[in-house]
Amino acid sequence: MIGEKVQRVEDERLLRGQGRYVDDLVPGALEVAVLRSPHAHARIVELDLDPVLDVEGVVAVYTYDDLSGPMAEPLPLLIPHPALTQGRTQYALAKDEVNYVGEAVAFVVAESRYVAEDALALIRVTYEVLPPVVGVDAARRADRLVHDDVPGNVAARMEQSVGDAAAAIEAAPHRLSLDLTVERSASMPMEGRGTVARWDPDTKRLHVWSSTQTSTGLRAAVAAKLGLDLVQVDVITPDVGGGFGVKIMHPWPEELLVPMAAMALGRPVKFTEDRREHFISSAHERGQVQHVDVGFDDEGRLLGLSVQFWHDNGAYTPYGLIVPIITSTQLLGPYKPRAYSVVFESLYTNTVIVTPYRGAGRPQGVYAMERTMDAIAAYLGKDRTEVRATNFIQPDEFPYDQGLTFQDGRPLIYDSGDYPASLEKLKALVGWDEFESFRQEARASGRRVGIGLACYVEGTGVGPYEGAHIHVETSGKVKVAIGLTSQGQGHQTAFAQVVADELGVPFEDVEVTTGDTRRMPYAVGTFASRAAVMSGSAVALAARQTRAKALRIAAEALEVSEEDLEIVDGQVQVKGAPATKVALGTIAVLSNPLRYAFDEASKLATQFTVGDTSKPPIADDEEPGLEGKDFYSPERSTFASGMHAVIVETDPDTCEIKVLKYAVVHDCGNLINPLIVEGQIHGGVAQGIGGALYERMAYDEHGQLQNASFMDFLMPYSTEMPATIDIDHLETPSPLNPLGLKGAGEAGVIPSAAVFASAIEDAEGFPIHAMPISPSELYDLRLQHGHEEPS
């Protein structure tokens, strides 16, 4: 079944509204509202809770002073890095200073969210307002500081290089410099954050359900912060309405405060984030300012590339330097820079924190590289595809070592790929060579069109590990548990396909449980395009183990050799003599010497004799049950790649930008389910169109987010999407994992800013150096470049 377009089995349930999300669980729980800072930068002078305490229905109010032990410490810095010399994290509730509008200050628990919000309005906080630092430019000027003890607002400065880029550029026949910017956007899942917790005083166990991308990570955080043993804490991830990165950031303050309050109050407590809160207190991403210096020869071949960029990390750095490290390494894409140096500063601003959002720093890196490729082509008067092809790593050069250290601390070595083949497919798919005649036709009727392309390489399937546990019931049904969570990706479908193939059972008999620490306590999480690669591989390995055990037992029961057996449709049978067979359910019975004849399968099993009566019922190296459990841990990431092209039309009068055609060539190695991969691409492209043409975080100079609602933060509707997205797949398997997989989750969004900048530049005839771009900004550019008289 691997490789087939199997319909997602999740969808009927989800589309009928039968999904069960955090807010659907534990009805009757107390509800929470969070008092959030109205100021971007201020000292808390006084907090007056008195007016709240008498409000009917208010059960408890917490401020920093109510926190103790590890809860009174700053929140964890999840991923430290030697270059992050000035890492700072916030407190679960602000201690004496707030550093962005939306930072949690007080936590009200009440009989309902209505009452809790009424109570918020009564809390009196006296702030001493401080001047805020908003945007990269203000952070670099550093005439104001976000944190008094962080000079220059610089959280980290990091440099990597291969060869002597400066000298290579200096010696190159041609040189160019570019200054580029990318604005902020955010994940914006349909379901915001949410956590509900129940403390069981009889068993001394804490049950936490959270809308998270990592149940195991959250479990460890809750246990550590609340002083519990790990085995006292269960974290269960129910249906999750999208994550896109914002829910791999953990623990959010509320994810600790909710269980803390549930334990203290002895009643279940629930937090359900609303949309405004999501805008001002959940993470953003993307904001960077970049400077590129490049030297190249007459063919457009890169001789030296030097990149500096300034990364807006918001008020704190709980997720370390992952995003800018990815930008700085994945910027190279499918190209050989020959000599490369990159230096970035990660800067504090008085805005919402920045943590990975689908693409995680890659869209910015690809934007810098692809803008550079287009600039070289324009300078030399060459076709943009030719300049790219000149710089491609060739198919016979894999594994290719870029000589840098990747986000996982491992060498940046591409495992496989075929970039020239991808480019040929893309050109055919979008009609690259026929575009000039289309342009002439359009021009003749007063229309303005442009074509653009962008290429990327994406490190996916980042470690350290994932595991899978497979259990065959005596009914023959197969229960699979994986530790990472699902946010709607189709794990039930895809992993059931793997098990069906590897174990030889009907697809319908396989049930997959995700993100429940009771079933699989060792796991990492769903992010970094890693679920298929990591869990898919682990599931395959666990299924192979289960199969081997089934064959071992069946061989003994049927008195044949293992090599003569196969498993077909849940039956272990003799090759060439399928009438001699035993059902997997029966083998499950045989595998367990405790064999009360509870059911038909157990009765059936008594006809087989298994085991040497002179030895213990369970051999030394065996376990009861027909089960398999295995972990997959790769030596390094596997590198997927792809190329997008878009044809746009820009309105000569209104400057509106319309997508006429969007083409994607995508290589994520072997496909488990092309339908799911294409769905991921569709969603990614939609998110990318949003990021390129519509979305931005409109902070004013006071650090107030002016568009913190879906009325003013413009996510594209279906009406803003092209009617079709043309997709072609290339499959260069990864040598690093058992199924030859590469990740696909983030790919669709990665080249968006780059590909639209390329196409709009082509349509308009002047360079595009800032993304996203709106019709109003396009009009301003036309004015600047003298293509328009002011109205």
Binding site: R113, R275, R276, T719, S776, D780, L783, P790
Partner: protein, 293 residues
């Protein structure tokens, strides 16, 4: 995003609603709720009482005759948009309604509610102003009509008194020698327009005798501009359309916001003015031609 506490009443008759309103200065009228409910949820408004008029069946109607289209306070945008007779009597109403948000919002939102919400970015107030329509308002002390010209005082501010309910909006019929058109540019399909223009053109003997346009999202209040002076020869020429754009821009006061700069909005004023005047002129000529033949 939960509203502050409020009392809720759902009167069965208009008289009862007006009484409740008169007795409760802190009350707000709830009809379609497409603007009010979000304001309540974000606690940007916190009235002590909501007077839900959705139970007053007598206010739910769309009636058209030779004079014009009368829209009751409970008629949903979708009902007005789908009313064939109303589209015939005053085509501009249907053209503009199609641009009001999305179908789901039009299914619930009311046309009269949009008028009295007096949002300078909304389509329907501009249509009412351009057509010189009016609203009928009722209070416990009687009824009165307010002409569109006297209705819109400022951003989100109408001349209705607190104890009054707008019970009907009247959109005059299209004249036999007139043509209309509507166009707008929004960031996304269904968004508030960055700029929107409605046009009303009258012709006589094949020549233009009147050109008036109404603008949304480029002024605090729906603004009507008489552009007739730009067409001294009574014909549509590129130069006349340029002049019309100049006149329009001079009469308006677009501002910059996070979605569009003021200069870009001026550009849209010119472009859309040109488009709708041409379209309305063609419409008028086709109607007059049809009449003659």
């Amino acid at each position: 995003m939960k509203p502050a506490p409020f009392e809720f009443v759902r009167p069965a008759s208009l008289a009862e609603a007006l009484e409740v309103l008169a007795a409760n200065p802190d009350a707000k009228v709830l009809a379609g709720g497409q603007s009010l409910i979000p304001l309540l949820s974000m606690r940007l408004a916190a009235p002590g009482m909501l007077v839900d008029i959705n139970g007053i069946g007598e206010l739910s109607y769309v009636r058209s005759d030779r004079e014009g289209v009368r829209v009751g306070a409970l008629a949903r945008h979708a009902e007005v948009e789908g009313d064939a007779r109303a589209r015939e009597v005053q085509p501009l109403l249907g053209l503009a309604l199609r641009q009001v948000a999305h179908p789901t919002i039009r299914n619930r939102g009311t046309t009269v509610g949009s008028v009295v919400h007096a949002d300078g970015s909304a389509e329907i107030p501009v249509v009412l102003a351009l057509l010189n329509g009016r609203v009928a308002v009722a209070s416990s002390s009687g009824r009165r009509d307010i002409a569109a010209a006297d209705l819109f005082l400022g951003p989100m501010e109408s001349s209705l008194k607190h104890d009054e309910i707008a019970v009907e909006a009247f959109f005059p019929a299209i004249e036999h020698d007139a043509g209309v058109a509507f166009d707008e540019v929004a960031r996304r399909n269904g968004d508030y327009a960055l700029c929107g223009v409605a046009a009303h053109v009258r012709v006589s003997g094949g020549r233009i005798v009147s050109v008036r346009t109404g603008y949304l999202s480029v002024c605090d209040v729906p603004t009507v501009v008489d552009l007739t002076a730009a067409f001294p020869d009574g014909v549509v020429t590129p130069a006349a359309l340029d002049d019309a754009g100049d006149l329009a821009v001079a009469a308006l006061d677009p501002v910059s916001d996070i979605h569009a700069s003021a200069v870009y909005r001026c550009r849209l004023v010119r472009t859309l003015t040109r488009r709708v005047v041409v379209a309305a002129h063609e419409h008028a000529m086709s109607r007059v031609g049809a009449e003659v033949s």
